[in-house]
Amino acid sequence: MQALTTKAKTVGRKPMTFWEKLYIPVIARGMAITFGHIFKKKVTISYPEQTRPFSPVFRGVQVLNRDEQGRERCTACGLCAVACPAEAITMEAAERLPGEEDLYKEEKYAARYEINMLRCIFCGLCEEACPKDAVYLSETLVPANFNRQSFVYGKEEMLIPHPKKDPEGFAKARGEKRS
């Protein structure tokens, strides 16, 4: 039979020599190895205190963006919902009333914007489809929960903190890769 790889090792079936039959020298060598491992650097990351950095292409929970003055950028055009292959996005549009100019950037805004995190596959097509740079995928994971309804994220969960009122939260939500 032809060998499939060049890495195959033939195992010797020679009977053990007297030295090997003693076991003790070999065991002593093995114990020296394990003893050496006691002083090796641990590779463990103590998770809640330490976290591993995400890769630059990581896609997590969606964030609804605001502009520099803290106005919501979304105009409820629905392109993200159309682009979404998992059909996870629902929204309801509303008209901006006079006096709400500092809340919403455009004349139309999303009164309700929901993404079902159980359906979402975090492909990032909504981010690509958005003409207003209003939605992007952050570096946050979806936390576990007890009931399905709580996985339908609305504007309360996804809207980015106000850049003027909560600059720290804003910077944190923006994440490292975008700032």
Binding site: I24, I27, G30, T34, I38, K40, K42, T44
Partner: protein, 357 residues
């Protein structure tokens, strides 16, 4: 009646009772922290951190484990022999604790105007007693496996029993060579003979090695944990056990480990003798109580080292196959022990004859 009561040496009984409770408490405490140490040693050998969440450095972990075992449901299988099923873990624990009676934990202390020996019973057949009790330990395992009415448990119990019986032979033979040198079976005397700092391990290195290997087998520790081989027998003889009954079995193993470390330290490594110190002179200069304290500490350091070796070996050497185990026991260790015995006897005779043939 009064005369009978008066004739009893009450202070002796009280002092022994206190000593017994202290030793049992300490054994259990050490067994508890052995489980912690085992997990830490395993973790460090495998480049991990081990338990570090319960309390600082995870030192409350054994308490959490115990609490977990206590709060588990106690299941007695329907088809088991209920009496034996409950007797098994108790017996395992009892035999594990009984051995500590003859181990001398230190010289003697002087309080309340009394000289109190730190040994529960200086039996003149101490080693024989240890062997008797250790061979009773197999009953806990055997009864547990039998009463569970489970094929795996029974197989494991039979395996374990035959393993322990086989290795007891080599263990006894390795000690006979030592006993020919000491001329006494009393552990106290054996320790006293080593007070000059020359331990019996220098005279009996082979005997010590055989004894060490047999101690691993007797304690059912890896590489000889055939009776609880997870990959072949699920969980071995304590498969059907749950809650604190399982805890007793697991605990008995650690108590056994502690006691056999103590026996090894006593018989081969000078027991409570403080290394590099002339104990008798130190006692005269600094008082008996300080000496006794140092002796207890040095014995426990020796024991801790042996316990570490137990764990170190466990996480290094993989489990033997059953035929390898039997081959090692019967075809290697017993002939070696016999050889050791013959050489020792020869040298002793030669010495008695003033090195003339």
């Amino acid at each position: 009646m009064h005369a009978l009561l008066l004739s009893v040496d009450w202070p002796l009984i009280i002092e022994k009772a206190v000593l017994i409770s202290i030793i049992i408490g300490v054994s259990l405490l050490i067994a508890m922290y052995e489980t912690y140490a085992e997990r830490k040693v395993a973790a460090y050998i495998q480049d991990r951190r081990g338990p570090n969440r319960a309390g600082p450095f995870g030192i409350l972990q054994p308490l959490a484990d115990g609490l977990k075992l206590f709060s588990k449901e106690e299941i007695v299988p329907n088809h088991s022999n209920k009496f034996l099923f409950i007797l098994g873990p108790g017996l395992a624990m009892l035999t594990a604790m009984m051995t500590s009676a003859v181990v001398p934990w230190g010289g003697h202390i002087h309080i309340f105007g009394r000289d109190i020996s730190l040994q529960i019973a200086d039996v003149n057949i101490g080693i024989l007693y240890i062997f008797g009790v250790v061979s009773m330990g197999v009953y806990g395992l055997m009864i547990g496996g039998w009463a569970s009415n489970n094929k795996f448990s029974l197989l494991a119990a039979i395996r374990g029993a035959s393993q322990i019986i086989s290795y007891e032979l080599a263990m006894g033979l390795s000690l006979i060579a030592l006993l020919m040198m000491t001329g006494s079976l009393s552990l106290h005397t054996i320790v006293e003979q080593q007070q000059n700092g020359v331990y019996y391990v220098w005279y009996q290195p082979l005997g010590f090695l055989i004894f060490l290997v047999c101690a691993f087998a007797e304690c059912n520790r890896t590489p000889f944990d055939l009776s609880e081989a997870e990959s072949e027998l699920n969980f071995g003889y304590h498969q059907e056990y749950s809650s604190m009954k399982l805890g007793f079995y697991l605990f008995a193993e650690y108590v056994n480990m502690f006691i056999s470390s103590a026996v090894m330290a006593t018989v081969f490594w000078g027991g409570y003798d403080v290394p590099f110190v002339n104990d008798a002179a130190f006692g005269l200069n600094h008082g008996v109580n300080l000496l006794a304290f140092l002796q207890v500490v040095s014995l426990f350091v020796k024991i801790a080292l042996f316990i570490f070796v137990f764990m170190w070996v466990r996480w290094t050497v993989p489990r033997f196959r059953y035929d390898q185990l039997m081959k090692l026991g019967w075809k290697t260790l017993i002939p070696l022990a016999l050889l050791n015995m013959l050489i020792t006897g020869f040298v002793i005779l030669l010495k008695q004859n003033h090195w003339h043939f």
